[in-house]
Amino acid sequence: MSWVGVILVSTFASNALLSYGLGACDAARGGRHGSLRTGIALLASTFVAGILLWIISSLVLKPLGLRGFEIIALALVVVPVMRYVSSFLAQKVGAAGEGLFMRVDEVSLSCVVFGIALIVTRQGFGPVEVILASLSSVAGYSAATGLLGAINARLELSDIPAPLKGGPGILISAALVSMAFSVLDVDFIARMVG
């Protein structure tokens, strides 16, 4: 698949939230990943997790026939490295960047980071595709969360039954948005851009 195809599939057809349900809990609670700082932390964490897991998987796990051990590599190598580097950088940059690196600590245990890293590693991509797929998956997830957040804000102000406001309204809206996104499936994108 071409690089444009990888970006479009990761953003729309295989959207982390709307196709895999990753981060559905956060989206239903109104989006913990709403702020810019958290978005950047999520982007950085997913990028690092994706590329590190791909390296470990390609150099160690696949040659040894241990593909199932990807989760162990994520939990015992990738996450500790990310947490250590983020706390080190938080001390170095001082108050300005401390909040950002603390968010990296928070989101590093998110199923969005783990899920996207596992998905891109199992696709059989090369390093450039892994980077593109990781970044565009987060972009797709953030776009979906932002869209649902905006719909939720409108629902809160509208005259609908109270039990439908909040989580239930977001989940039903997610169903409709997911239906709209499903128009752009992998085959369609492959035919359009190769």
Partner: protein, 202 residues
């Protein structure tokens, strides 16, 4: 125990642990498998957290809990693959993701402050999660595809034909997961509001 133990609060009010339910409950076999894996994961995480409280240094707590959860997910994946390779293949990334399921992470956060006597609420959460996942997956597959797939051992899970085609095909897709969970959460919150208004607070 009282009612709080058997309420689906973590799922339908706090919206914890939804991720696998959206993607895997379109099929009864995968829904049942993931609900068993997650429920046992919640319980074993709670037990591990309490048993290891005095032994693990606080700075290594997150890594050790996460390591335990990921070894559990790996073990569950191996057992599932031996039992039904097709179901394991269909579940894909969702078996390893049990390690970072929100409810499992929730137990990780609670482990420091909770006592053994509070395990009953964890047990209730696990049972509620299991029952809800089973009901949602049975509903979605029967209405969405007109079949009910049982996770029988071997390469060919038993598929019971209930109808020639699904009544509401969209229910078998991720869209259906969001829809069913949204409607269940709406029903739960409407019911809770009704009980508060007319039957006194639960």
């Amino acid at each position: 125990m009282k009612s709080s133990s058997f309420t689906p609060n973590p799922l339908l009010v706090s919206f914890l642990g939804l991720c696998p339910l959206v993607a895997t409950t379109g099929n009864f076999a995968t829904g049942l498998a993931i609900s068993i894996g997650t429920s046992i994961g919640i319980l074993s995480m709670a037990l591990f957290g309490r048993l290891s409280k005095g032994f693990v240094p606080s700075r290594l707590a997150v890594t050790s809990y996460l390591g335990f959860a990921s070894f559990y997910a790996l073990f569950f994946g191996i057992v599932l693959e031996a039992w039904s390779p097709v179901v394991a293949l269909d579940l894909g990334i969702f078996v390893p993701l049990i390690a970072v399921n929100c409810l499992v992470i929730h137990e990780l956060n609670r482990a420091d402050s909770s006592k053994f006597s509070e395990l009953s609420s964890t047990l209730a959460t696990a049972i509620t999660y299991f029952l809800l996942a089973v009901v949602i997956s049975a509903l979605r597959e029967s209405l969405g595809a007109g079949t009910l797939t049982l996770p029988t051992p071997g390469f060919h899970p038993l598929r019971i034909m209930l109808a020639s085609e699904g009544l509401i095909p969209v229910l078998a897709k991720p869209t259906g997961g969001f829809l069913v969970l949204g409607l269940l959460a709406f029903g739960w919150q409407a019911g809770s509001g009704f009980m508060e208004k007319f039957g006194g607070k639960q």
